[in-house]
Structures are given as structure tokens and as C-alpha cells.
């Protein structure tokens, strides 16, 4: 019926795709583009597993229609690492073992990148606040917070 064309940029690549107006951005990323790094957890904005960055702002991609992303620049977890290696925040999580089952990790990474883009030197409270919308049922957050504090201490964020 009323399909429309979505034109946007995902991880630096221009995309043009036919979408259903009911598609969420999450469904577009996973099902149309095959970018399955972004996870679907609760589907209503509580868990943060589907966090991506759209035009510089972190958001839950389950709470946005793909049709709203017209002309937007989107970064998913697949856009963080480069051929040279992991993004600093990914590297810190690996060093500190800040991940267990890994399901929340893409969302945590995107929230952390969003934080460091805005505030290169956050304190512990600011770090905890920034990842408050990302539910992790494995780690108890300690190692995630320690990893993000290490990024701060090293001043390594790109």
C-alpha cells in the first residue's frame, strides 16, 4: 500500500530503501540492512539495547519510525570500529571485561560514545547517568563503569 522511499546515511554509507511506514528504525536497520549488531530487547524504550546515534543524539531505535530518519545520519555499533581496530570505548570494555552475555553491549557502547562526544571527561556520576537507560542483567555495571572511567583517564576518545 503506502510504501515510501527512505534516504539516509548509515555508518557513512548512503542508503535508499523502500519502507513500510510502520517499520521502526530498529526493524529497518536489522531487517533491511542486516545490521544485527543493534539488538531488540524490550521494544518499548526501557532497556536501551537498540540504542543508536541519529544526527548526534542517542536514542532507542525501537521508539522511532524509519520514516522519521529521512536525510538523517545514523551510526550503529557496526560503525564504531575501523580497519585500524576497535573504537576506544570498545577497547576499554574488552580490557575491563565489561561485558558478559553481550546483548546489552552494543547499546551501552552507543550511549557511552554519545556521552564522550558531548563530555570528554565525565565523572562517575555522569557515566552512571549516561548509561542509566541501558539495562544490563549480567555485569552489575561495575566493570562497565570502570571501563568508561578508564577511557576518561586515558583521554583516548577519538
Amino acid at each position: 500500500m503506502s510504501k515510501e522511499i527512505l534516504a539516509c546515511t548509515v555508518n557513512g554509507d548512503k542508503q535508499s530503501s523502500l519502507i513500510d511506514p510502520r517499520d521502526t528504525l530498529l526493524e529497518f536497520l536489522r531487517d533491511r540492512l542486516g545490521l544485527t549488531g543493534t539488538k531488540e530487547g524490550c521494544s518499548n524504550g526501557n532497556c536501551g539495547s537498540c540504542t543508536v546515534i541519529v544526527d548526534g543524539q542517542t536514542l532507542c531505535s525501537c521508539l522511532m519510525f524509519a520514516a522519521e530518519a529521512q536525510e538523517c545520519e545514523i551510526t550503529t555499533v557496526e560503525g564504531l570500529a575501523t580497519v585500524e581496530g576497535f573504537h576506544e570505548v570498545q577497547d576499554a570494555l574488552v580490557r575491563h571485561g565489561g561485558t558478559q552475555c553481550g546483548f546489552c553491549t552494543p547499546g551501552v557502547l552507543m550511549s557511552a560514545v554519545g556521552l564522550f562526544n558531548e563530555n570528554p571527561n565525565p565523572n562517575e556520576d555522569e557515566i552512571r547517568l549516561a548509561i542509566a537507560g541501558n539495562i544490563c542483567r549480567c555485569t552489575g555495571y561495575e566493570k562497565i563503569v570502570k571501563a568508561l572511567q578508564d577511557v576518561t583517564a586515558n583521554g583516548e576518545v577519538a
Binding site: N44, G45, Q57, T58, A132, G133
Partner: protein, 291 residues
Amino acid sequence: MDLFNFQTPRSIPELIAAKNSANAWLLAGGTDLIPQLKEDRRKAETIIDVKKIAAMTNISAEQDGGLNIGAAVTATTIAQSEIVCASYPALAYSVALIGSRQVQNRASLGGNVCNAAPSADAVPALMSYGALANIEGTKGKRSLMVEEIFTGPGRTVLEQDEVLASITLPALPENTAAVYQRFTPRREMDIAVAGVSSRITLDANSKIVDAKIALASVGPTPLRAKAAEMTLIGEVPSLKLFEAAGAAAASDASPIDDTRGSADYRRHLVSVLCRRTLASATKELIQGDLP
């Protein structure tokens, strides 16, 4: 979710024309609307994205010193706005309590008002600043006090052809301060068990000449604590006065028992938060400890 027609009007007249049909809903942040659609709690034939309308996404200073905030402006934009932080800090503080950062980056001020949740965090601050809701429809424009919009949980006075275009915060008199505090078991991602915003204006003799106290989560709509306000007018701030105002505010509240708290507990929270917010607002205006 049934298929709907997705529209992105560029002006308020285009928006009103699109809204004036059955099951047409406005989409700003979508943080409430999208879960409602997914769970079939709301049916939509038309979804209208309002974020391409400049008048609804801007913050602009009014000539008389007030501030106009477009209904689609996000919580994050408001929380980071220098002019809001300087002139209406209780609003900047309250919008930064909504959900998580991901939610604040999307959620709009107009959505927080129009969803008409009794717990809406931005609303008590708007009410204590005396904010106006600017509504436009096929028959023209009207402006109401924000508290006049609500008719019940999730219900407003807006007609099918009407939209909330913006919120106007009036210029405040000298010696005015407002503070919002809420109680939640968890600091973030939680809904107020009770919330209180208190605004006072003092005269040159440090007497309270204006007070507006608004309560969240203790009634079917956000509500003004008018008995509490009356106890304050003409008086000099003191701890005893604020205790009395808190007690009056508890009787202004009409809470229910639910999973987040009992009615009695909520009344108690209102009295405590009312006293604390009044003391905190006074501290911004008067040096030293309260008598």
C-alpha cells in the same frame, strides 16, 4: 499495528488540516505514542510528524521577556538551553528527569503535556511558572493556563482539529524562584510516586506576594495546591510556615493507592516535598538559614 498514512507537514496550517480527521495522531518524540501503537492501545489512520515545522521546534524569547518553547522541542534541548537554565531552572531540571538520556533526546515538551499523565515531570514546573499552552485549530487560536488543558488521565481539552503549538513561559517578577522535586525509588527511568513544584515571589520586605504550587502523581491530573498557596501569601518565609504549607498541600492532593505507593504515603510525600521545595526556593532568594 494497522497501516497508517505518514505525513510530514511543514507549517501549522498544514498540520491542522492533517490532524482534522479521525484517528490522526501527532508524532514528536514518539516515546509514548509508539509503544501505544505497538501494543494496540491506540489506533491510527494518520501519523503526523511535527518535527519539520519550524514554529514547533524553536525556542524564542518574547518581547516582554517571556519565553516561547515550540511543542516539539525535546527535553534535552530544553535542559541544555542557556536561557531556560538561567530564567526557568526548575523546568530545565525537571525535563532532565524524564526517562533516560535516549528518551530525553526524543521526548518533547508538548508530548509531556498532551499525554496528560498525572506524573508528567515537566508539567508541575510549567504550572508554577504560570505557563500558557498555545493551541491552534481550524477555528483559530486560544491560549489556556497549562493546568486547564487536563481533564483526566490521558485526556485533554484539545479538539480533533486542534494542536498544541507552543508553551509560553511568562516573564517573572524580581525575587522569584521555583524548585521541582519528585520522589522515585530509582533516580532515573522511573515515574514519580509524588512530585511538587513550588514557586514563590518575595517583595522588598521578604514577604511572599505570589506562590504557585503544583503537584504530580497525586490526582487524576497534575493539580495546583491552592490551600497551600493561600497559607503562604503575605507571610515571611519560615520553617514553621513551610510545615503548614506542606500540611495544606497534603490535603490539596487527592491520591490513589497503586503499586507505586499508597494514598497515605503519597500525601506524606507531598507534605515533605512541599516543605523542601519551598525551603530550597527561598534559599535562592534570601541569604542565611530560615527562622
